[in-house]
């Protein structure tokens, strides 16, 4: 008789005191508690088993009525939450099959007897055997199925702490329950224990059950009492979640928008990722399988630690894709706006330069050696812009550390005289032109940010400026960009090919304040190749990541700014190294 508990089931089921080890399908959401911990607690009789609840209950019901009131069976237990839809359909199907009188059985069912004196769980409003869990603090009933649903509120970016779940009844922190098992045992862990013996009359059974539940305690338990099962015990992952959110926030705060200073303007050229971790080989491999996927980085990211990502995604912290897109879109718009102005400036400038060139030629003083000083002044500056989300905490380290390395967009001088050449490679020249322009008015040090709404913090970082401006001997001469000199001996600076896809991992954070480029060598007539190394620095604060087009805007505004909103569809194709070589061709 004792083993008839499983008679209603199509398959063998392990039970504890006529209850089950897995939920009976009241809740359909994800099962995010630790099932093995729960199982163990149930077997240890520290947590009530998952009883099949009664839809309703009256004291004077007989066994048949009780059994008929039991909630429909869910689809197989043990199918760990895999089959929500299934369980709905199949349980309704079974509803038909279920004999209205499951009653043709022997008159005393232990399965019915356990429900004598049933109690209503105040949360799901279903009825359970009287040996139900009780809140440790205020002694309120709660069924196991509801109990496992209660967990800490997930931390948010604005609330970077995880507070223990409060009692739903009395709001005391560290919600936990205490379970008093029945005096008998069946099923798992019952070896050698008293087998249940049921009184003959339902009335007596009811009394017995009531008696068990009547030895009610009146004291409350501390949350660390050994008899207490807390919410945290069955959700041991709360710390990991908290850590994940904290990391995501930190990562976000770490992220920078890379700005290049062109003349007195700031041009956004990319976003660093704040993420710092290596790529697992299998992830790298998996990437190739997703050829259709638009950004390699995005797809890879998607595979990382799915579960936590899902969780983070659910709170708006998931891969920073959307956020990045938004930033990129803002940058794109500002670039477009900036371009228009540049174009006007350029026209003016060109005229002027042509005149000057003519004058210089006339003087016969067309020395092809640009002065380093000038080039310094003209340098393209990249500024790191620190986007600090939510927690503004991190702005300072990001700001102070970054620029020297991020700014290494090496200046390039041109030796060819023609303004035609310039015209032929507008993509390189236009920012440079602006830069030239700005350089002339070098007394002015307030760049206007293209971002109307963005706070602009000027940092007078002399060393950084140096680093940026100075031609670097360590740059390989093999630079595809031809060195040319302007007739007026001004170096023109072209943007580093940031838009390339540096595949080489770079040190995650470049916090060194030393100039990335060597000291000025004043006589060096010809300048730098766009340092690849530099661009790597720029684009990858996160070593692991290959810059995708999401991370990098076209380095030269005119070359390939997409007219399509980024958010719309595919990202603009990244400017490749091809851009600089165009210049070389000229």
């Amino acid at each position: 008789m004792g083993n008839s508990a499983s008679s209603g089931r199509g398959h063998h089921e392990e039970t504890v005191d006529f209850g089950y080890l897995t939920p009976q399908g009241i809740y359909t959401g994800p099962r995010d508690w630790n099932q093995s911990v729960v199982t163990q607690l149930i077997v240890q009789r520290k947590l009530a088993p998952f009883y099949r609840p009664l839809e309703d209950y009256e004291e004077d019901w007989d066994d048949d009525q009780i059994l008929a009131a039991r909630k429909e069976l869910p689809e197989h237990e043990g199918g760990e939450g895999s089959s929500r839809a299934e369980s709905v359909t199949s349980s309704s199907a079974r509803g038909h099959a279920k004999k209205p009188s499951a009653a043709k059985e022997p008159s005393r069912h232990p399965e019915a007897a356990i429900y004598r004196g049933a109690l209503e769980c105040p949360i799901c409003f279903l009825y359970y055997p009287p040996n139900i869990n009780r809140s440790r603090c205020c002694d309120q009933a709660i069924c196991t199925e509801c109990f496992v649903q209660i967990k800490r509120a997930d931390p948010t970016t604005t609330h970077l702490v995880s507070e223990p779940a409060a009692c739903p009844y009395c709001v005391q922190e560290n919600f936990g329950i205490v379970y008093t098992p029945p005096p008998w045992r069946t099923g798992l862990g019952s070896e050698g224990a008293t087998p249940p013996s049921w009184p003959d009359s339902p009335k007596a059974a009811s009394d017995a059950a009531t008696n068990t539940s009547m030895k009610r305690r009146r004291k409350s338990f501390g949350h660390n009492d050994p008899d207490v099962v807390t919410v945290d015990m069955i959700h041991p992952d709360w710390e990991a979640k908290l850590a994940a959110v904290r990391a995501a926030v930190a990562r976000r705060a770490n992220r920078r928008i890379i700005m290049r200073q062109v003349g007195d303007r700031l041009i956004p050229v990319g976003v660093t990722s704040g993420r710092v971790h290596p790529i697992a080989p299998e992830e790298a491999g998996a990437e190739t399988n997703e050829g259709g996927e638009r950004g390699s980085r995005r797809s890879r990211r998607r595979q990382q630690n799915q579960e936590l990502n899902q969780f983070l995604g659910s709170m708006g912290l998931g891969g920073q894709d959307l956020e990045e897109l938004m930033v990129m879109e803002a940058m794109r718009l500002s670039l477009i706006e900036h371009e228009a102005q540049q174009r006007r400036q350029k026209e003016e400038e060109e005229k002027k330069q042509r005149e000057e060139a003519a004058a210089t030629a006339a003087n016969g003083a067309a020395a092809p050696v640009p002065s380093a000083e000038e080039s310094t002044a003209l340098s393209t500056a990249l500024a790191a812009l620190s986007v600090s989300e939510a927690a503004s905490q991190s702005a300072s380290p990001a700001l102070s550390a970054q620029p020297s390395e991020d700014t290494v967009s090496p200046p390039r001088s041109r030796t060819s005289t023609s303004s035609q050449a310039r015209a032929s490679s507008p993509s390189l020249l236009s920012p440079a032109r602006a830069s030239t322009d700005g350089g002339r008015r070098s007394g002015r040090s307030t760049p206007t940010s293209p971002f109307g709404t963005v706070g602009v913090a000027l940092l007078g970082a002399a060393s950084t400026a140096n680093a940026v401006a100075t031609p670097s001997p360590e740059h390989e001469p093999s630079d595809p960009i031809a060195e040319t000199a302007l007739p007026e001996h001004q170096s023109e600076l072209t943007p580093a090919p940031i838009a390339g896809e540096p595949r080489v991992p770079a040190p995650p954070v470049i916090a060194d304040d030393t100039p990335a480029i060597a000291e000025p060598s004043a006589t060096q007539p010809t300048v730098d190749r766009p340092s690849l190394a530099a661009s790597e620095h720029v684009t990858s604060s996160a070593s692991s990541l290959t810059a995708s087009s999401y991370d990098v805007l076209p380095s030269s505004p005119e070359s390939s700014i997409s007219d399509k909103p980024l958010l719309d569809d595919a990202p603009p194709t990244p400017v490749t190294e091809g851009a600089p070589s165009t210049a070389a061709a000229s």
Binding site: F125, T158, M259, T407, G438, V456, A457, L458, L459, G460
Partner: protein, 172 residues
Amino acid sequence: MAVSTRRLQKELADIKRDGTPVGITLLSAEDFATWYLSVEVLGNTVYEGEKFALKFRFDGQYPISAPAVQFVVDDTYQAPVHPHVYSNGHICASILGSEWSPVLSVVSVCVTIQSMLASCKKKERPPDNDRYVSHAPENPKKTRWDFHDDKYVPSSPRRSTVSVLTISRRSV
């Protein structure tokens, strides 16, 4: 049957059997996804003579997850002018957010809101009403509310501080 359906069936049965507290009326509960109840504040309050309607929306995880509750704003009903009620009907009340408890019910939420209105001394909108309303999500549960002491401020959907660092050029 989702737990929400079961719970709501029972809550509905209770309402039909026992009625609702004074000043609260069930307007409609045609399914287990959306209910409407009206709330009046009785006695001598700033809302004397006014009647408001609350819209409840439940997801399948109710009562573990809080219902989405807001005041109805339409031709018949307006949102009360209250420091915690936005003109679009959204309500900033902690029990609808972080302090929701599965032990609460539709009726107990109504009672709470009724008493929130009853204790109001001065009719005014939240200070950030316009800003919030202009970009509020349709479903108030999507708003991340910050409940700071008694200052109920919706946290902006994305709070990002953006600062730009640039390097001053210098002529060498």
